[in-house]
């Protein structure tokens, strides 16, 4: 009898850990399923990451990194320069994705990365400027954000000098989940 018990025990021994493995996997799947039931939406500054740099003494570059599952409306994008409050109009608008909206008709939207060149009203070599960006977008999950204002201070390079560093409106947090 004793030998049977021992042999059963040793036969079970390799199975036990795999059983626990199975349980752990189940727990993890259950946990992620539980959390996924209530999709965590991002705040607009993280859904629509705004960054900018000065390309030269008379041109800025504005960038939006739109997180997967979110989109920006092109016609709601607006850039203003501080000081002076001059509106900066992009030299050209990249082609967006046309969204057939049942209420608003054909709407041009941006997903993924968008880069816009913004000519300054006058060359500003060596000056510091604040680029103010208004953007409005939605999540595919079915919520929309009001117009979000984000600001970036940029040092404009001297005449003939190359682009300045890219500055992010909201610095990326380094953590376990990204």
């Amino acid at each position: 009898m004793d030998s049977t018990v021992i042999s059963t025990g040793s036969a079970l021994k390799p199975r036990l850990p795999s059983g626990w493995r199975w349980l752990v996997a189940t727990c993890l799947i259950a946990a992620s399923a539980g959390l996924a039931a209530d999709p965590k939406l991002l705040p607009p500054e993280q859904a629509f990451r705004f960054s900018a740099r000065a390309l030269d003494d008379k041109t800025l570059e504005a960038r939006f990194e739109v997180t997967d599952g979110y989109y920006l409306y092109r016609d709601k994008l607006k850039f203003v320069l501080d000081p002076g409050a001059a509106e900066l109009v992009p030299a050209s608008w990249p082609a967006g994705k046309i969204k057939e909206d049942q209420f608003f008709g054909k709407m041009e939207t941006y997903r993924g990365e968008v880069s816009l060149r913004l000519p300054l009203p006058a060359a500003a070599p060596g000056k510091s400027v604040v680029l103010v960006a208004d953007s409005q977008g939605c999540a595919d999950a079915g919520v929309c954000y009001p117009v979000t204002r984000q600001k970036i201070t940029l040092a404009v390079p001297d005449a003939g000098k190359g682009p300045g560093p890219l500055v992010e409106a909201v610095p990326r947090k380094k953590n376990w989940f990204n």
Partner: protein, 176 residues
Amino acid sequence: MPKSALRWIVIGVVAAAALAGGAYFGLQNRKADTSPQAVAALAGLSLPDASGKEQSLAQWRGKVLVVNFWATWCAPCREEMPEFIKAQTEYGAKGLQFVGIAVDQADKVDQFAKEIGLNYPALVGGFGAMELSRTLGNELMALPFTVVVDRNGGVAHTQLGMLKPDKLQALLKQLL
């Protein structure tokens, strides 16, 4: 007990604790805080409607209130409103009252209300209304956001994103 089994037990316990923690965190997120002050602020709220007439939420005390924060520029908001109009027609006599709070301009709200035949008041609020929705649990200040208030003035449900017809029906069955 074999060492490897013990190790897996430890991992299992840790995972279970993580699960409990995660579930608790998830629940906390779902039941986003609605402070008693926020509920009181909502009950005492007074805003102009699209025609400029001041409307107080207190006038519907004792009814089941569905307060819907929305805007004309918000497509999902517009999408769910026909369902609200239908529910207002169907259950209004049983004590259901929808109230829209638009984070928008009065003229746009007025125009859209006429366009879709809105049969419940559309109040117009600015950033203050958005801020109120935040204290009611709309941490992201996104739209649509809906608060369902029971007959005793307690918050029965908050919803960020569209309030699906089946969810609405279930809530009304329970509260009316």
